[in-house]
Amino acid sequence: MFPKERIRNFSIVAHIDHGKSTLSDRLIQLTGGLTDREMKEQVLDSMDIERERGITIKAQTVRLSYRARDGLDYVLNLIDTPGHVDFAYEVSRSLAACEGSLLVVDASQGVEAQTLANVYQALDNNHEIVPVLNKIDLPAAEPARVKAQIEDVIGLDASNAVEISAKSGLGVPEVLEAIVTRLPAPKEGDENAPLKALLVDAWYDPYLGVVTLVRIVDGILKKGMRIRMIATDAAYLVDRVGVFTPKPVDMDALGPGEIGFIIAAVKEVADARVGDTITEEKRQTKTPLTGFRTAQPVVFCGLFPTDAANFEDLRGAMSKLRLNDASFSFEMESSAALGFGFRCGFLGLLHLEIIQERLEREFGLDLIATAPSVVYELAMSDGSTMELHNPVDMPDVVKIREISEPWIKATIMSPDEYLGPILKLCQERRGVQLNLSYVGSRAMAEYELPLNEVVFDFYDRLKSISKGYASFDYSIVARRPGDLVKMQVLVNGEPVDALSMLVHRARAEIRGRAMVEKLKELIPMHMFQIPIQAAIGGRVIARETVRALRKDVTAKCYGGDASRKRKLLDKQKEGKKRMRQFGRVDIPQEAFVAALKMDGD
């Protein structure tokens, strides 16, 4: 067993893109976890979609072996976390497995919204924090100013922050020393006590099956041991024990303070509940860990196969994806217009986008996504309550006493010059200002906002009005009653259920007008004119018309064009598949999400 005094467990946390994964690369390289040949940029971002988008989605753990300047060998367990707010849950469970954090701050950008959110979370977990100023190679880097900012805004001593360039490797050896000297070893931990381990994460690996990441608190976890998961109350035989270097390496046992994986005959990821306590079957711990709440989906939308015949394929694909992502939920749904599909829950819009993209790419499916919605709570006149995940299911208004919606607390940081438009945006979205402060020339606005106003395009709008400089973080704080009404969209006189949504009465007209204007752009011209209307309970609040098509013909068409034109015709027939028919109108599938994004102000 490795002496726990020489173990350091730490998470790397930062705002999105501040360089967590790049720093992880350097730490792995310096300690020899991978050879130069095996190394690539952001090596821990192993999913295709992570590599393509250049972001981390899933936290990754690596065990490093490091001989420190004191001449002793240390085991460092690094957890690289995602920066995007949708994956905040990955950060929170990673923090629970560690005693310390490296707080990475981009020295050219300074403290951003997720920097703050993550620091507070680390402090809540009683972490020791080492600030690391990254990207000092950039001409725009201002380490002194950013240090002052860290002290002012976060109240963290930044005098001995480590200044590095994760890209070039400059200063990274100092980070290793700081981990050893400034972060604590695992505190308690009795090797002779009954096994007590935290289930940190679980995922499905095509070669290994379900892999469970654990942090040992007490006792020893050995290969061949019979273990019990307390919350799910199931027992398993441990087939393999090991660590990631980042390659999986088998071990005989893991002791207190260590982080590693086990492979037992767990069938589904859902059977390994994150936050659960693992103990030994024949000598069980009397003090299970408190664990933590599972991630709750906050945004819902319907996903339907474009071709109804692919319904079963979609079900199969979703079950496979869920194997690796328990935060995504789905249940069957049927829509008058779209046929059979699934109502799915996500952690946020990026999560939604990513799952949709993975379903389409990895499983070759063509999907239609309906308007994203939040979860409403309906208090009915008969005293009962119900949760509404889908506007289509909304009962008759006369039966509803009150509708409440989720509210968030949002923190927005931005250069001063964009503050005006940002405050206006928050105000328009029914925001309630909590606080407004300045950190040098950077403004920090805290607002309470209904999630319903944020879900669609708030983040896009924020980015565009601040030229990309504003950062945003949020968490759900409450559920509050609101004057919410169901808005329907009629295309050529027929209601399109996939486009209906709940809106605040005061915002209905603006939302309705934006929606019909957008649909007018998105719906191609047909041979007849198409009225598009937004309505609340039979009253039309906005209307646009798509003009009838007048010309759609090739200018020149002679004998030599016959084959080409005919093949084009076949292709266009194919193209029509990406459209969905509502009555006599073909609506392109991207319209369902795009229609909700509002341009301008």
């Binding site: 041979m527 007849f528 098509l549 007048r550 010309k551 759609d552 013909v553 090739t554 200018a555 020149k556 068409c557 002679y558 004998g559 030599g560 016959a562 084959s563 034109k565 005919r566 015709l569 076949d570 266009q572 027939k573 029509k576 006599r584």
Partner: protein, 412 residues
């Protein structure tokens, strides 16, 4: 293997008032024995490649004209075996720049067609030319070689327009060539391209009026099409090609209106004739899904045979085509179209015609009737005429041929 099929009383009457004209009801059991036949000759060489052209064309850098003309004669006799014995209605010399062919090669091709198939008495023999290709003597030589209809690729009558199209002739050349052509040929057609980069509708209306006043019997008026694999296509992708000032649909509608008011009937999307006899008979073979033999590099042909409708494509590169002729096979591809494919071609082309398509003929080609519900719906939308015998666009549907074809297309 000779298939002694003879042209029957098919095809449909070529009048725009086809609704009243007698048309052929094809009873389900009866196959159409044969279709009208024409010959297309592709001459791929040009002195210069135009920036909007995506045909199979090559710069003429001292190409061997005898070798290519010889190969075309060989190809003709090979295809005579495929087409079977039936009279040829028309020959069309296109390109490229067929006006740059030697008159004796043209004469030899015409004579060979006549020997192999037999030309009908009033056979239409057309050739395309550019304003600077030929002087008066050259035109007379073409006539001597047997050409009886000239299609002049004027493209524009104003110097700025010609420059924007990358043409080397000017307004004066264009006018002179048209008047020269009218002196040597009874049948003259001219081509114009509208919606040129930066063009205003008002300018085009004036230019078109001028062109129609020249009094030719036939005009082809094309909207400029930007093809991806052309100089214009590349320019457009860079965003360096100015578009028209006014909407394209306005250009299209105005063009039809002005032509019609000057006595030119729009019998096809881009083709206008002063009388039914002035219509381009050869081109009507394509639009009516009749048969044609294509010879020359990259030429396409369609031949109806007992086993189905055959689509033929010759080798595109002149050297490969010539080599092919030596081996006795110039085809890069030869397929039998499925009945759905054949039906779709008939739709795509037939819907372009003012006369439309005979529904029974289409049923015979496609092996099934067109979708009755779609047909009825398009009639209800006012884009197809309310006739049950013919599928024909109304005035409002005149610019919608492609969209209509997509709606009515046969599935595989």
């Amino acid at each position: 293997m000779e298939q002694a099929s003879r042209a029957t009383d098919f095809p449909i009457v070529a009048s725009a008032a086809a609704e009243e004209a007698p048309h052929l009801e094809v009873s389900p059991g009866r196959k159409i024995a044969g279709r009208e036949l024409g010959i297309y000759v592709h001459w791929p060489y040009c002195t210069k490649i135009c920036p909007y052209c995506d045909f199979n064309v090559y710069r003429d850098r001292g190409a061997d004209h005898s070798a290519l003309a010889g190969a075309i004669l060989v190809d003709l006799s090979a295809q005579r075996r495929l087409s079977g014995q039936r009279p040829v209605q028309s020959i069309y010399f296109g390109g490229g720049s067929p006006a740059l062919m030697r008159p004796r090669d043209i004469a030899a091709i015409i004579a060979t067609v006549d020997t192999l198939w037999g030309l009908v008495a009033e056979a239409e023999i057309s050739l395309e030319c550019n304003p600077t290709d030929l002087g008066s003597a050259g035109l007379e030589a073409l006539r001597g070689a047997g050409i009886n209809r000239l299609s002049v690729g004027v493209q524009a009558f104003d110097d700025a327009g010609l420059k924007s199209l990358g043409r080397h002739h000017n307004r004066a050349d264009a006018i002179r060539t048209v008047t020269d052509a009218q002196q040597h040929f009874e049948r003259v057609s001219l081509d114009l391209i509208y919606a040129r980069p930066g063009q205003k509708l008002e300018e085009w209306r004036r230019e078109l009026g001028f062109a129609l006043d020249l009094g030719v019997e036939h005009v082809s008026l094309y909207e400029l099409t930007i093809e991806p694999d052309t100089a214009f296509g590349r320019k457009a992708r860079r965003g360096a090609l100015p578009r028209t000032v006014d909407p394209l649909e306005d250009f299209f509608c105005s063009t039809r209106e002005i032509a019609a008011n000057s006595g030119y009937a729009p019998y096809e999307v881009s083709n206008f004739a002063r009388t039914p006899e002035a219509q381009a008979r050869h081109n009507l073979l394509y639009w009516r899904a009749q048969d044609w033999v294509g010879v020359g590099p990259g030429a396409h042909g369609r031949l109806t045979r007992p086993e189905g409708r055959m689509a033929l494509t010759a080798f595109s590169r002149p050297d490969l085509y010539i080599e092919g002729a030596e081996r006795g096979n110039c085809f890069e591809e030869a397929d039998i179209l499925s009945s759905a494919d054949a039906g779709n071609e008939a739709l795509l082309f037939g819907l372009r015609l003012a006369e439309g398509i005979d529904r029974a003929f289409l049923r015979d080609v496609a092996g099934r009737d067109c979708d009755a519900a779609e047909f009825a719906q398009l009639q209800a939308d006012g884009v197809l005429e309310k006739s049950s015998q013919r599928i024909r666009a109304t005035e409002r549907g005149a610019g919608l041929a492609d969209a209509l074809a997509r709606r009515l297309a046969f599935r595989h």
